[in-house]
């Protein structure tokens, strides 16, 4: 695989490529297991024991227990998988989106109602909001 990708300069974005998929396989498969109701019950009863059944790294395990949504992405999590854990917690995509971008759920929801996060200033790392569009 190429060392540098054409999307590596996009800010705040964790493209789920082969590198991340290798890193996050067990983390994501843990999340996937929560599709089954009996597993949700077992996880709810004892998170630590349930997590012992998956080959997570210590930092992945910690990110799960602390519900560190951005941390899970950085450790190879894929949002569609990690969101299974958010569903388990009764959270919405606005809750998780706010957490990952450092604002409250209410602020995130309002940002979406106001038209969402603008692409201007968010295309490239280091780009200022005033930069002309590409």
């Amino acid at each position: 695989m190429a060392a540098v990708r054409d999307y590596d300069d996009i800010p705040g974005t964790y493209v789920f490529d082969g590198r991340r998929s290798q890193q996050g396989y067990h983390l994501n498969m843990f999340c996937m297991s929560l599709n089954i109701e009996a597993n949700r019950e077992r996880f709810g009863a004892d998170e630590h024991t349930y997590l012992d059944g998956f080959d997570l790294t210590l930092s992945q395990r910690q990110a799960v227990l602390e519900r560190d949504w951005l941390g899970m992405l950085r450790l190879g999590g894929n949002i569609y998988y990690t969101f299974k854990l958010a569903i388990f917690d009764g959270l919405s995509m606005q809750d998780v989106g706010g957490s990952m971008s450092g604002i409250s759920s209410q602020e995130f929801t309002q940002m979406m109602i106001d038209g969402g996060r603008p692409v201007a200033g968010n295309r490239r790392i280091g780009e200022s909001p005033e930069s002309p569009s590409s």
């Binding site: 493209v15 998988y81 919405s92 989106g97 996060r117 692409v119």
Partner: protein, 284 residues
């Protein structure tokens, strides 16, 4: 030979399904969106397709990282709504059309599209929400459905051009279908996903309305050119999950070169997503 009544491009936002399932359509957040899509539902009701081919992606429901088919075609008699973590959506079971689906499989593979054949495949919001968008809340879906699942979760997804070419191959298959019901069969093709949105990372919430409209304009007028857009441009301009839009090219490829725009709707936001709905028909 079947008759293609049209192509539908639509977002497949889970929150739209939840709003329908939990009776929230009249709430202020949702009312405007559901009012805007009403003409599309009326068009669909007037067209009465016999079969819909729904191009969608699975979101860690039927497939996981264990096995990642780029294109998986459902040939079963029926497909159950998946449990995505909330319990399955309380929507009708999806009835397949095995005869046409197997014809598609044979024709596509003969045409050098090496698709995966799925005999058992639960279907998640990627497929059921577009049905709810177009058909509302019937006791049973009013037509047979052939699911065509595309990987857009594990990078890299197939290119827009590959999707466009697959759509053209689907069209050749529909034109050569000679099943017992072929002459009276009306088919619609759905391309789902998008529009601009990013669910993940510090850039979550990205929306690009200008991109969305340009995408629809180009999909109509010059799909053979716009299908060449590279993946990093989707991610940069339309958000990491905006790349789902490559699936709209499968729908477009199944239509004629020249199409008429029957209906267009664009609405921000539905959940964290810019929501688009486009209906195209072969030009008269």
């Amino acid at each position: 030979m079947t008759t293609i009544i049209g192509g539908i491009g639509t977002s497949h936002v889970p929150a739209v399904g939840a709003a329908i399932d939990h009776g929230k359509q009249e709430e202020p957040y949702w009312r405007s969106y559901f009012e805007k899509i009403q003409p599309a539902r009326e068009w669909m009701a007037s067209q009465r397709p016999d079969v819909c081919i729904v191009v969608y992606n699975d979101h860690a429901s039927a497939f996981s990282l264990k096995l990642i088919p780029t294109f998986a075609l459902g040939v079963a008699t029926e497909f159950q709504p998946a449990d995505e973590g909330y319990g399955p959506r309380q929507v009708p079971t999806v009835q397949g059309h095995p005869e046409l689906a197997w014809h598609l499989a044979e024709s596509l593979i003969g045409d050098e599209f090496d698709i995966t054949i799925a005999n058992e495949m639960d279907v998640d919001h990627g497929l059921t929400v577009p049905l709810s968008v177009m058909f509302g809340e019937p006791d049973a879906w009013p037509c047979r459905i052939i699911p065509l699942c595309v990987n857009v979760i594990q990078y890299p997804p197939p290119s827009g051009k590959r999707c466009f070419d697959l759509g053209r191959a689907i069209r050749r298959a529909l034109d050569s279908y000679d099943g017992s019901d072929a002459d009276s069969m009306k088919v619609a093709v759905f391309g789902t996903g998008g529009m601009s949105h990013q669910l993940q990372g510090e850039r979550a919430g990205l929306i690009n309305t200008d991109f969305d409209h340009a995408f629809m304009d180009e999909l109509i007028a010059q799909p053979g050119v716009s299908c060449g857009r590279p993946h990093d441009e989707y991610i940069r301009e339309a958000g990491s999950e905006g790349i789902e839009l490559v699936m709209w090219f499968v729908m477009r490829g199944a239509l004629d070169d020249h199409v008429d725009e029957v209906f267009r709707m664009h609405h921000v936001p539905t959940s964290n997503t810019s929501n688009g709905l486009l209906i195209l028909q072969n030009a008269h």
